[in-house]
């Protein structure tokens, strides 16, 4: 026997899940089969027990119409104020989610899990409120009745005849940490009811008649008990081993449609899927007619899709004209074992005397179980087309059809002149109808053209001509065949055209997806990735896009991507809209228009995320035209792609930063080492010499004393110079330094800089060869002076006494070029490569006379680079070195 062992990844996932559970609050549901069984009572009792244990309990919301016994239990519990929402003239009291989160108790009581919130609340449903509480780590006690559970809805309705509008997804119930069944005998419940403990007397009578019959209650109780047992089963099988569920070979497929009865079929399929413990997929076949579907139907379809999602189905969409073929192809490819269909879809084909959908599916795939769900009281339902589209006559189309008819008729006359047979004329008319079908946008034109063609043919070309009579007995047959031929040809043409349009649309969408992948991978920074993603989405969805980047866990200012550039879409970045985006960021769930959360905002907001890390929030301006399911899925994959790219970008940036930090650390370490070594030398000399002079001045002869003074002076000057350089270097390397650019006369700067060069300059010949004209440069004068000082000091230091140092200036285009040339020994090729590196010194081997930190030239390079200039070193002829650097010049208009 082989034991099934979990892989390390699975274990990790499990641990992660458990950790998340730890931070999440616990949900306890008090579950009953009817009103009045004592759920709220039991909940409040439990709350008191918890409070006695020292747990921080508050009552978030309890229905106000309470039995006296129950309301007594509220005493001694902290009750949160409810928010009041104006709805027309009445004021509705609703649970106040924000107050609850701000209060942050350990445990909160919120009655009626299935409640639907009033307009203006954050969420549409109370279970979403509760979910947010749990996410915030707050434990929740709540109550619910069996008829509110989504998958049991129909069952309960069929027993009691009452359809409940407020429903909760099964997952909420199944994922609760604890479900406490509150149960009493139905007889006892009816007794209670009669005593008026549950509702007021009046209501009691009414309720008894409709709902609270013993028969109903027994049935409901049974359902409730069974549902609880199912839940326990499910949990134990989950605990027994996740791996088992993967070996199930049942895969249930339900087809989505816009039919109002579709919801029931979805629920049945869901119950079946959980009974078989199989996979559950909901499939929607998007036909070419889809865009013409009326808004009402589209809305219903969206609701059905949403329902299927809630019931745990995977939503898939395929495209094609032949629904049956698409379904069976999908079933074959995804290994579906059972298909659940409604009777309406089974019946649908009868009108056209075509094989029904069920028959076709059976034909296509022989080894599928097909379940057909009967539908009672099916309201008359037709796939209504969008009226506005249908009635839209396009003048150009009308004109085109007319031209085709006229052309056919003219050719017909020509043919009849030449005495061609009538068959030719008929063919010409059929051709005309075909052309009409191809060049017009709607079917109606080709249909009308067919009819008119037949009439025209009859009127103009059949004996007796110019009447609608026909002598020949065969003509009616000719007309009929002509009409059918014309109509069929045109239908085929229309269909081909549609298919072509549809595949073009699909190809376009697919292309966008691939393009996006490509474009995103080309981008190197987050701004680029975002702009590519948003531009692609604008193109794909034809909607305005708003993108919020995340900075320090908060939204940055939004980036706008309007469909038409230059368009003002600032209405989408109002305070309200931003609040929705913030909610999305904090809760990592989508919200806004077309969702159940904050649905009255203008945009739909989604988080761009990888796992739990949110990299941005994207807003899509919905404007009353919600996204199609294909658009939605492709958008999600683009966003996923974008999030991955952003994540990679972030990781690489972090890595770069770390590398930079390490480099700076290295630099600092080098600097410290150099300083500790090189600063000590002059300091030792200064303090030593001064010490000697202080203690034994009399014993030292005058000449010697003078030398000591000179040493102190030289060393202190050296230190001053060093400190200046060091300060400049640290300022530049920190990146904190801002250049203070002013317009200066280059010659002035050089003259001034020379005043600050080494005292030994008198031992060298310093010559300034300035250009004829004035060169004005835009520079930070202090820093450029430092460059000149360093270059000249270097020349003085590394050349023998009496050498020439020539400073030249000239301008080339918008650059000023400064050269500092000497005729010393020059610089070796090897040294040239490193001469601008920090801590490089030419005399690395000689430690004594030429001490230098090797900062000077590195500093020069930093400064010149900061000025957008270049610095280089070349050989002087016949010997020596030439340092050349460039500076930006400044044009000036003189103010006379």
């Amino acid at each position: 026997m082989e034991e099934i062992r979990s892989s390390p990844e699975e274990l990790l996932k499990q641990i992660k899940r458990e950790e998340q559970q730890k931070n999440r609050g616990h949900l306890k549901i008090f579950f009953g089969y009817a009103a009045g069984v004592g759920k709220t009572y039991a909940m409040l009792k439990a709350a008191h027990t918890a409070q006695r244990k020292g747990i921080d309990v508050v009552v978030g919301y309890v229905e106000p119409h309470m039995r006296p016994q129950t309301s007594q239990l509220l005493n001694g519990l902290e009750i949160l104020s409810s928010q009041e929402i104006k709805h027309g003239d009445i004021i509705l009291k609703e649970f106040d989610l924000d107050t609850a989160i701000d209060r942050k108790p350990k445990l909160i009581l919120v009655d009626e899990l299935a409640h639907t919130n009033a307009n203006g609340c954050r969420h549409l449903k109370r279970y979403q409120d509760i979910n947010e509480l749990l996410d915030n780590g707050i434990d929740v006690y709540t109550t619910v009745n069996v008829q509110h559970i989504e998958s049991l809805n129909d069952l309960v309705a069929s027993i009691t005849g009452i359809t409940v509008k407020e429903r909760i997804p099964d997952s909420v119930f199944d994922n609760a940490d604890q479900v406490k069944l509150v149960d009493i005998e139905p007889k006892e419940l009816i007794e209670r009811l009669n005593e008026g403990k549950i509702y007021q007397k009046m209501q009691a009578q009414k309720a008894l008649g409709n709902f609270f019959t013993e028969k109903n209650l027994v049935a409901l109780r049974e359902i409730a008990l069974r549902r609880c047992a199912d839940r326990v089963n499910k949990m134990s099988s989950q605990a027994g081993g996740k791996a088992n569920s993967r070996f199930t070979d049942e895969h249930i497929l339900v087809c989505l449609s816009s039919s109002p009865t579709n919801a029931k079929i979805i629920r049945t399929a869901s119950r079946m899927a959980s009974a078989f413990k199989g996979n559950f997929t909901a499939l929607f076949v998007e036909t070419p007619d889809f865009p013409e579907m009326s808004e009402e139907n589209k809305n219903r379809l969206r609701k059905n899709i949403h329902l299927a999602q809630q019931l745990g189905a995977t939503i898939e969409t395929v495209y094609g004209e032949d629904i049956a073929f698409q379904i069976s192809e999908f079933a074959r490819l995804s290994g579906v074992s059972k298909i659940v269909l409604g009777r309406s879809s089974a019946r649908r084909g009868m009108l056209f005397a075509r094989p029904s959908l069920t028959e076709k599916i059976t034909q296509y795939s022989t080894n599928l179980d097909i379940y057909i769900i009967p539908e009672k009281n099916t309201p008359p339902y037709k796939l209504k087309r969008n009226k506005s589209q249908k009635t839209k006559f396009i003048a150009t189309d009308l004109l085109k059809s007319l031209i085709c008819l006229v052309a056919s008729t003219i050719i017909g006359f020509v043919f009849s002149e030449f005495n061609f047979s009538e068959a030719n004329i008929i063919t010409i008319y059929i051709l005309g109808v075909l052309v009409t079908a191809v060049i017009t946008s709607q079917r109606i034109y080709s249909l009308v053209s067919s009819v008119i063609s037949v009439l025209l043919f009859n009127f103009l070309f059949t004996e007796p001509r110019f009447t609608f009579n026909a002598y020949d007995a065969g003509y009616p047959a000719t007309f009929l065949i002509m009409f059918i031929a014309a109509f069929l040809t045109s239908s085929l043409a229309v269909r081909i055209k549609r298919q072509a349009r549809q595949s073009a649309a699909t190809a376009y969408r697919t292309k966008i997806l691939f393009d996006t992948n490509q474009l995103i991978s080309n981008e190197i920074d987050s701004a680029g990735i975002i702009s590519v993603t948003c531009n692609q989405l604008t193109k794909l969805l034809n909607k305005d896009i708003i993108f919020y980047q995340i900075q320090n866990k908060e939204l940055a200012s939004p980036l706008l991507f309007p469909v038409h550039t230059g368009q003002d879409i600032s209405e989408y970045i109002s305070q309200n809209e931003r609040a929705v985006a913030t909610w999305v960021l904090n809760n990592n769930k989508h919200a806004g228009a077309t969702t159940d959360t904050l649905g009255d905002s203008k945009c739909l907001y989604l988080s761009v995320r990888v796992g739990h890390e949110v990299y941005g929030v994207i807003g899509i301006a919905i404007d009353d035209s919600p996204l199609g399911s294909f658009e939605n899925s492709i958008m999600l994959s683009i966003l996923g792609e974008c999030a991955l790219a952003l994540k990679n970008d972030k990781t690489s940036k972090e890595r770069e930063e770390a590398a930079l930090l390490a480099k700076n650390e290295q630099l600092r370490a080098n600097l410290l080492r150099s300083i500790s070594h090189d600063l000590r030398t002059p300091l030792t000399s200064i303090s030593g010499n001064a010490g000697i002079l202080l203690s034994s001045e009399e014993n030292i002869d005058k000449y010697k004393r003078k030398q000591l003074y000179a040493d102190i002076y030289d060393d202190s000057l050296w230190l001053i110079n060093l400190v200046e350089n060091l300060l400049s270097v640290t300022r530049i390397e920190d990146g904190t330094m801002k250049l203070k650019l002013t317009t200066e006369l280059l010659d002035e700067v050089i003259t001034e800089a020379l005043q600050h060069t080494d005292r030994k300059r008198s031992e060298h010949n310093i010559i300034i060869e300035s250009s004829e004209s004035f060169i004005l440069v835009k520079i930070d004068a202090r820093l450029i002076m430092q460059v000149i000082i360093n270059l000249v000091d270097n020349a003085i230091k590394y050349t023998p006494k009496g050498s020439d140092i020539i400073i030249g200036t000239r301008s080339e285009g918008n650059r000023a070029i400064v050269t500092v040339a000497d005729n010393g020994r020059g610089i070796s090729e090897d040294a040239k490569k490193h001469i601008f590196d920090m801590f490089y010194t030419a005399g690395t081997k000689i430690v004594d006379s030429r001490r230098s930190l090797g900062l000077g030239l590195a500093l020069c390079k930093s400064i010149i680079t900061a000025h957008d200039g270049t610095i280089s070193v070349t050989d002087n002829k016949p010997h020596g070195a030439v340092f050349t650097f460039t500076l930006p010049t400044e044009e000036v208009t003189l103010h006379e």
Binding site: I720, K740, T742, T743, E744, L745, D747, E748, V749, T751, E752, I768, S770, F774, L776, A781, R782, M785, E890, V892, T893, L894, H895, E896
Partner: protein, 231 residues
């Protein structure tokens, strides 16, 4: 002749010692003020000939002290600043200081600045009598005739150059900031004016200096301004 009295405002005792020692060897008298409060008090009670003022004092900001002293006295003030930021100097000069020194400075430089200042004081007292003609070494300006001479040879200056030269001459020995000069000449202080100023200053120098790269009359203070030296 009375030894000139110099008020040394400096909080750091080492630097104060250095300055006072230097000054006393050069036959100046010294008065010391370690804080801004003391500086204002001493300046009022002793009426020194020159004030050496450190900008970074523990109690009052140096610029503030200049404003206060300037409210009653025209005593020349030489600012000493450890900050290498040019803006501090410019602020001090605009507030009414006459000259500045940046730490670290050499003793020679300090003494040179003092000499310049004293010469200026003397000129101010003497020149007032015959201020229609300005003479500085070989340079002679006849304000009444609007003529400028070098070694008695008349120079041809553009109107702007002439205005510049007169402005510098009237403030001889004092550092004038770019802003001050452009405001005086053009009435505005845009960047473009500063750039123009440099060009006019360069052409002016070419006309009055023997060797423009070693200026004799007009000194450049990079990032700060210009000063005419008393030769």
């Amino acid at each position: 002749m009375n030894k000139p009295l110099i008020l040394v405002v400096e909080d750091d005792s080492a630097v104060r010692n250095l300055i006072t020692t230097t000054l006393e060897t050069q036959n100046y008298r010294c008065q010391i003020a370690p804080t801004g409060e003391a500086a204002i008090l001493e300046a009022a009670s002793y009426n020194p000939d020159v004030i050496l003022l450190d900008l970074g004092l523990p109690d009052i900001d140096g610029i503030e002290i200049i404003h206060k002293i300037r409210s009653w006295s025209k005593t020349p003030i030489i600012v000493i600043s450890a900050r290498s930021e040019d803006t501090d100097k410019i602020d001090a000069l605009d507030a009414g200081a006459d000259d500045y020194l940046t730490k670290p400075f050499s003793v020679e430089e300090l003494l040179a600045r003092l000499r310049v200042t004293f010469r200026r004081i003397n000129d101010l007292t003497n020149d007032n009598i015959q201020n229609s003609i300005f003479i500085n070494g070989d340079l002679k300006i006849d304000y009444a005739a609007g003529c400028v001479f070098i070694k008695d040879k008349e120079l041809h200056l553009t109107p702007i150059e002439y205005k510049l030269l007169c402005l510098l001459a009237k403030n001889v020995g004092k550092v004038l900031t770019h802003t001050y000069i452009t405001k005086e000449i053009w009435g505005s202080a845009w960047d473009n004016d500063v750039a123009s100023l440099r060009v006019f200053m360069a052409t002016l120098r070419k006309k009055i200096e023997k060797d423009p790269s070693v200026p004799q009359y007009i000194q450049t203070h990079i990032g700060v301004g210009y000063r005419m030296l008393k030769v």
